[in-house]
C-alpha cells in the first residue's frame, strides 16, 4: 500500500492578471524570476528540501510553459517511483464537468488523487510567492498543537494590513477571528496562503462545501472550519517572503537580488533553489562590456553595458547597448546601441538596433490604469521591437511590432501596442 504522511497541493492555475502582458500567455507561476528561476521553483524547491516528495500541481490558465517546465520533476528530484510531482489539470467527469472555480474547488476536484496516497496531512501552497520555508518544521508545529488546520502567517506593517487576510489570535496562537482585507485591522498577522490540514478535517470541509460556487480557502473553507470549532492555529513565519503579484513588487523583488548582500540570499549552499536547467554554457563578457550591480545567468553574451539589472539565461546584449534598472528574462536579444531603461522584458524579446526604451516623462496608462502604474516598460513574451524607435515610460508591448506601429518612430509614455495572441 502507498502511504505518505504529508502531500502537497500547489495551486498554480491563476492568471496573475496584475502582471499585465507578462502573463498574457503564461501562467504566473511560470514567469521567470531572478535570472534563471521561475516563480514556481520556490515552492517546489521548498517541498523537496522539506522532505515533501509528493506534490500535485493544479494548473488551469495557460499551462504550456508550466507543464514544459515541470516535466516529470527531474530538476527538483521529484521524479519518484512513488509520489513525485504530478500536474493536475481540470478534467471531464462522467457526471459533471467544470473548470476549477476556486482554490478549494480545485482541491476538491482532485480528492481522488489525494486519497490515493492515504495522507495524514495535506499542505496547500500557492505558486506565486518568493520565499524559503521548511514545511517540516511547520508540520511539527501542527502536530505539537494538535491542530486541525495550521495557517502560516506573517507580521506585516500595520498600514499594509488592510491589503491582507488578517488573523486574530489568542496568547496560544490559536486563531479566534478572521478579517478579510479589513479597514480597521485588529491584528497585523497576515495569512501567507500556506495551510496544513489534517486530512479528515480537509476532506470533511471540502465535501460539505462542494456545492459552494467558487469555493475558496480564505473565504469559505477556513471560516467553515472555524465555525465548526476546529482548532486553527497560526504558525508565525519571520523569514523573507515576497508576493510578486504586481509589476512593481515583481520588479522590486528582482532588484533586491543585486544588492551587495541580498536579504534573500541565493548563494547559500543550504536550502538550494532548483530549476529546470539543462547544462548551460558559461557566460561571455566581451572586452567592450561593462557590468556592474547585476546578476547574469548562464549562456549570456554581453558586449554592451549592464547596470543594476537582472539578466536571464542566454541573453545577448550587443556592443554599445545599455541595459539599466531592468529585468531581462531568458533568450532576450538587445541590438547594437539600443537603450533599455526601467523595463521588464519577458522571454525571447528582441529589441532592434538603436531603439530606446523608457524615455520621457511618466504618463497614466491608456491600456490598464490599475496594472500599469509603476513607470516600467513591460514587454510580453516573444515580442519584437524594431530598430530605431523610442518607447516612453509606463508602456506595454506584446507581439511582433513593426516600424508602422510607432507613429513618428515612437510610442509615447502611457501608450501600448498589443499584437500578440493573434492566430497566424
Amino acid at each position: 500500500m502507498v502511504r505518505k504522511e504529508m502531500i502537497a497541493m500547489l495551486l498554480a492555475g491563476g492568471q496573475g492578471s496584475r502582471l499585465g502582458v507578462l502573463t498574457h500567455n503564461v501562467a504566473k507561476p511560470a514567469v521567470a524570476f531572478g535570472g534563471k528561476y521561475r516563480i514556481i521553483d520556490f515552492p517546489l524547491s521548498n517541498c523537496i528540501n522539506s522532505g515533501v516528495d509528493t506534490v500535485g500541481v493544479l494548473t488551469q490558465y495557460e499551462p504550456l510553459k508550466l507543464n514544459a517546465h515541470i516535466g516529470v520533476g527531474i530538476s527538483w528530484d521529484l521524479d519518484r517511483n512513488v509520489g513525485g510531482v504530478m500536474v493536475l489539470p481540470p478534467h471531464e467527469k462522467s457526471e459533471s464537468s467544470s473548470w476549477y472555480s476556486g482554490t478549494a474547488n480545485a482541491i476538491y476536484q482532485n480528492i481522488d488523487y489525494m486519497e490515493s496516497y492515504h495522507p495524514e496531512y495535506v499542505l496547500i501552497l500557492s505558486g506565486d510567492h518568493i520565499y524559503k520555508m521548511d514545511y517540516e518544521v511547520m508540520l511539527g508545529y501542527h502536530k505539537a498543537k494538535g491542530a486541525d488546520v495550521t495557517i502560516a502567517t506573517m507580521a506585516v506593517p500595520w498600514e499594509e494590513a488592510p491589503r491582507f487576510g488578517i488573523m486574530v489570535t489568542d496568547e496560544d496562537s490559536r486563531i479566534t477571528e478572521f478579517q478579510e482585507k479589513p479597514a480597521q485591522p485588529k491584528s497585523n498577522l497576515a495569512s501567507m496562503g500556506i495551510y496544513i490540514f489534517s486530512w479528515n478535517a480537509l476532506k470533511e470541509a471540502l465535501t460539505t462545501l462542494k456545492d459552494v460556487p467558487g469555493c475558496d480557502f480564505g473565504k469559505h473553507v477556513i471560516p467553515y472550519c472555524h465555525d465548526k470549532g476546529e482548532k486553527i492555529y497560526s504558525y508565525e513565519f519571520s523569514g523573507y517572503w515576497k508576493d510578486v503579484g504586481t509589476l512593481g513588487s515583481y520588479w522590486e523583488a528582482n532588484m533586491e537580488l543585486v544588492d551587495l548582500v541580498p536579504v534573500f540570499n541565493l548563494y547559500e549552499e543550504y536550502w538550494k533553489i532548483y530549476t529546470k536547467s539543462s547544462a548551460m554554457p558559461p557566460q561571455y563578457v566581451a572586452p567592450s562590456a561593462h557590468i556592474e550591480r547585476s546578476i547574469v545567468a548562464e549562456g549570456c553574451e554581453v558586449e554592451g553595458c549592464v547596470e543594476h539589472s537582472v539578466i536571464g539565461a542566454r541573453c545577448v546584449i550587443e556592443e554599445g547597448a545599455v541595459v539599466r534598472d531592468s529585468i531581462l528574462m531568458e533568450d532576450c536579444h538587445i541590438g547594437k546601441g539600443a537603450v533599455v531603461e526601467k523595463a521588464i522584458l519577458a522571454d525571447g524579446v528582441r529589441v532592434g538596433e538603436g531603439s530606446v526604451l523608457g524615455v520621457g516623462e511618466y504618463a497614466e496608462s491608456r491600456y490598464d490604469k490599475k496594472v500599469y502604474v509603476f513607470d516600467l516598460v513591460t514587454v510580453g513574451e516573444g515580442s519584437v521591437i524594431p530598430s530605431g524607435v523610442k518607447v516612453g515610460k509606463n508602456t506595454a508591448i506584446w507581439g511582433e511590432t513593426a516600424p508602422e506601429d510607432y507613429p513618428d518612430g515612437q510610442l509615447p509614455s502611457g501608450g501600448f501596442i498589443i499584437k500578440g495572441g493573434e492566430q497566424a
Binding site: 531572478g34 535570472g35 534563471k36 527531474i74 530538476s75 543585486v258 551587495l260 541565493l266 548563494y267 538550494k272 533553489i273 532548483y274 530549476t275 536547467s277 539543462s278 547544462a279 548551460m280 554554457p281 558559461p282 557566460q283 561571455y284 563578457v285 566581451a286 572586452p287 567592450s288 562590456a289 561593462h290 557590468i291 556592474e292 550591480r293 547585476s294 546578476i295 547574469v296 545567468a297 548562464e298 549562456g299 553574451e301 549592464v306 537582472v310 539578466i311
Partner: protein, 371 residues
C-alpha cells in the same frame, strides 16, 4: 545505433603536473561549465549510442562523483546505460589495468555480452563534437578493420605529444608513430577508434596472450601492415588536454567567438552534470572584460582575459589576468594573479601576487582559511 561506446578514462599524465594530483584527467574541468569527459559522453549520446562503459583507474573517485547519475547525458534508460568499470579482483586476475588494451581485456565479458556489432573507443581527455554515425559509415564504406579518427593540425602546431599518422591517397594508414621527436606530418590521431566488436575481441585476446597491454603500440602500430586501418579526418574543433599548456590553451580557445559558437550555440549541445548554481553576481566596482564566467560566481574585483569556473569569489581590488580559476576558488581582497591556473577549491590570500609566464603557466593552489 549499432555500436557501444567505451571511454578510456583511467590514465594519468605527469605533464598535467599538480592539476591531476586529486582528480583524473577525464574529470578535469573545461570551459567553465564542463568536465573533459562530457565532450566524449555528449558525442556518444548525441550519436544515439545507448550503452557506454567508462574504464577508470587513476583517481577514479573524482570521476565517480561526476558520473554519479547518468541522466545528465540521457543514458539512464531501460535499454543500455552508463557503466563504470574500475579494475577489480577476480578469480583469474588481481592486476591493475596495465595499459589500454589490458583494460579492455579485463572487461572482455562486457564486450562479449553485447550484441551491437561495432565498438567506439574514445579517450576522456578530448574536447570536440563528433557524430560517430559518420565515422561508422566511413568505416563500413572502407571495409576497414579499424578506423582511427584523425585531425589535421595547423602548420605551426607542435605535434610531438600526439601519435602522427601517414596515409595513402585512399586514407589507409601506412605509418603510425607515437610522440615523434621530429616529423613533418600534420595528421594526428585523436585516440578515437571504431572497430567491429568481434574483431576487437580477437585482437585484444591475441595481445593478452603475448603479454602486450597497449592498444596503440601493440595493436595499431603492430598490425598496421596486416589489417586495414583507415584514417577518418574530422573537420570541427579538436584538442586534448594532456599537458598543462594544452589545458590552458584549450580553455583560452573558448574566448574566441567561433569556438564558443561551435560548442555553445550550434547543434548538438554538450551536456554536463547540473549544479543549480545561482546566476553570477557583479557587484559595484567590478571590471570584467574578455572573460568566460560560469554560474554562481561573485565578482568584486577585476577580471581580464580569463576563464572563471563555477562559484568563484573575487574580492575587492583583486586583479585576475590571463588566468584560469577552477571551481570554487576564493580570491581575497587585493590579490593579484597573472598567467596562472588556480586549482579548484583554493583560497588565496597572499598579497605578494602570483604570476607565471606565457610560456610557462604557473599552477597554484592555496589552502588558507577561507573565513
Amino acid at each position: 545505433m549499432r555500436a557501444i561506446g567505451i571511454v578510456l578514462a583511467g590514465g594519468n599524465n605527469k605533464r598535467m603536473r599538480e592539476l591531476t594530483r586529486k582528480r583524473a584527467i577525464a574529470a578535469m574541468p573545461v570551459a567553465g561549465s564542463y568536465r573533459s569527459i562530457d565532450f566524449a559522453l555528449s558525442s556518444l549520446s548525441n550519436s544515439r549510442i545507448k550503452k557506454v562503459a567508462v574504464l577508470t583507474q587513476y583517481n577514479s573517485r573524482s570521476l565517480n562523483e561526476h558520473l554519479s547519475s547518468s541522466k545528465w547525458w540521457d543514458f539512464g534508460r531501460k535499454m543500455g546505460g552508463l557503466y563504470l568499470f574500475p579494475p577489480t579482483i577476480t578469480a583469474e586476475s588481481s592486476d591493475w589495468y596495465r595499459g589500454t588494451a589490458d583494460s579492455l581485456y579485463q572487461n572482455l565479458d562486457f564486450l562479449r555480452d553485447c550484441h551491437e556489432p561495432y565498438v567506439v573507443i574514445c579517450p576522456g581527455d578530448g574536447v570536440y563534437k563528433l557524430d560517430f554515425n559518420d565515422v561508422l559509415a566511413f568505416h563500413i564504406d572502407k571495409q576497414a578493420d579499424i578506423t582511427v579518427v584523425c585531425k589535421e593540425m595547423p602548420q605551426d602546431a607542435d605535434v610531438s605529444r600526439f601519435g602522427v599518422v601517414q596515409t595513402d591517397e585512399n586514407d589507409r594508414i601506412l605509418q603510425f608513430e607515437e610522440k615523434p621527436v621530429v616529423t613533418d606530418q600534420r595528421l594526428v590521431s585523436c585516440g578515437i577508434y571504431v572497430v567491429r566488436r568481434r574483431q576487437l575481441i580477437e585482437m585484444i585476446e591475441q595481445a593478452a596472450e603475448e603479454d602486450r597491454y597497449d592498444f596503440v603500440r601493440d595493436i595499431l602500430v603492430r598490425y598496421r601492415q596486416v589489417k586495414n586501418i583507415y584514417a577518418y579526418r574530422m573537420s570541427g574543433y579538436w584538442n586534448n588536454i594532456s599537458t598543462v599548456e594544452a589545458y590552458y590553451q584549450t580553455n583560452m580557445d573558448f574566448l574566441k567567438p567561433e569556438v564558443r559558437k561551435y560548442f555553445f550555440n550550434e547543434y548538438p549541445d554538450v551536456y554536463s552534470k547540473v549544479y543549480d548554481n545561482p546566476p553570477t553576481k557583479y557587484n559595484t566596482g567590478c571590471h570584467v572584460s574578455g572573460s568566460l564566467i560560469s554560474s554562481g560566481c561573485i565578482i568584486n574585483g577585476t577580471v581580464e582575459n580569463s576563464v572563471l569556473f563555477k562559484k568563484c569569489y573575487i574580492g575587492n581590488g583583486a586583479v585576475i589576468k590571463n588566468s584560469i580559476l577552477l571551481d570554487d576558488v576564493y580570491i581575497a581582497d587585493g590579490v593579484q594573479i597573472e598567467n596562472c591556473i588556480v586549482d579548484g577549491h583554493s583560497t588565496i590570500r597572499s598579497l605578494e601576487g602570483f604570476s607565471g609566464g606565457l610560456d610557462h603557466i604557473r599552477v597554484i593552489s592555496g589552502d588558507e582559511k577561507r573565513f
